[in-house]
Amino acid sequence: MPQTRKVALVSGGSRGLGAELVSGFLDRRYGVATLSRTKTPFITDMLRARKRGHFHWGAVDGRDHEALRAFVKDVGERLGRIDVLVNNAGIAVEGILSTMRTSDIVEAVEVNLTAALVLAQACSRLMLRQGSGCIVNISSVNAIRGHSGVAVYSATKAALDGMTRSLARELGPRKIRVNSVAPGYFESDMVSDMTEEQKQRIARRTPLGRLAQIGEVANAVHFLTSDQASFITGQTLVVDGGITC
């Protein structure tokens, strides 16, 4: 399909922040591709509602590197280009490290970090040829502040921020920007297991006195991928209502 629109690839776009980003990019007249392990009702609705060619979904397991590369190649061929990559896919892994199963550690690193590196590698090749592009890694406040029980999750997210800074230097000369967005707690599946009391405790510690709305986190991503952020690269934008300040 001849693609005059910009194209965004969002990993993990079947639910939560990823789904919010998919909708946001479509509203901004981007062609959008997303991958997830399973097809959710959101994906089914998008496939039904959106004009053929402007939205593409693939069933891809983030641990399958070859499948990730093949998906990027397919998106490049279907939509003609990739202007934006949002490395959003991630799994929450919680527990005291000393009692955690090694397989859970490996899975978290594979999904949260290695998949992001593989996607950045594959997409940056297209972006190098285009001479432009934008990558946003979804990090976390856990990459900035230590919290008991999230050592593995923190490690993967802090590693993403390291990738952001180095890749920004690497790709900057070819006009490709790389940034991170580090959300604090926001209303999503990831906090759905928290009790109301736990959420209120977080809200009390937050200068703005509440958890973020998912759209407020997505807005930061849309800002960084817009021309308004044309001179911003290698940065981590913290969207946490001030909880880490």
Partner: protein, 118 residues
């Protein structure tokens, strides 16, 4: 690209892409030689090389650096050409290995002859 290009065609394509990158930099180069060092002679950066690899993958449909060849072993124009030729003609690798073995045997025979003369 549906059919495998000839080794000469691959060389021509790789040379053409290198020239395009140099032209973008407004660098004038006469005849490209296989011995020209990509960095030291032509002034290409590692990012230029990454761009070349992405560009050549789009044109030739292969990436020899994904598994076959280490990018760090590519120093000269000839190294780059050979990496792509190997991607299409793996037998060149075997031929090269056979040549290396034959050269080794020849060197050993010469050493033995020198010892016997002494």
């Amino acid at each position: 690209m549906l059919t495998a290009p000839t080794p000469a065609k691959i060389e021509s394509i790789v040379h053409g892409r290198i020239r395009a990158v140099l032209a973008e930099r407004a660098v004038e180069v006469g005849t490209l030689s296989g011995a020209d060092k990509l960095s030291a002679t032509l002034g290409l950066s590692s990012l230029d090389l990454a761009f070349l690899v992405a560009d050549l993958e789009a044109e030739l449909g292969v990436d020899p650096f994904a598994k076959l060849v280490s990018i760090t072993s590519v120093r000269s124009v000839e190294d780059l050409v050979r990496a792509y030729q190997l991607a299409f003609f793996p037998e060149l690798q075997r031929r090269g290995e056979d040549d290396a073995v034959a050269a080794g045997v020849k060197r050993a025979q010469a050493r033995r002859a020198r010892r016997e003369r002494r």
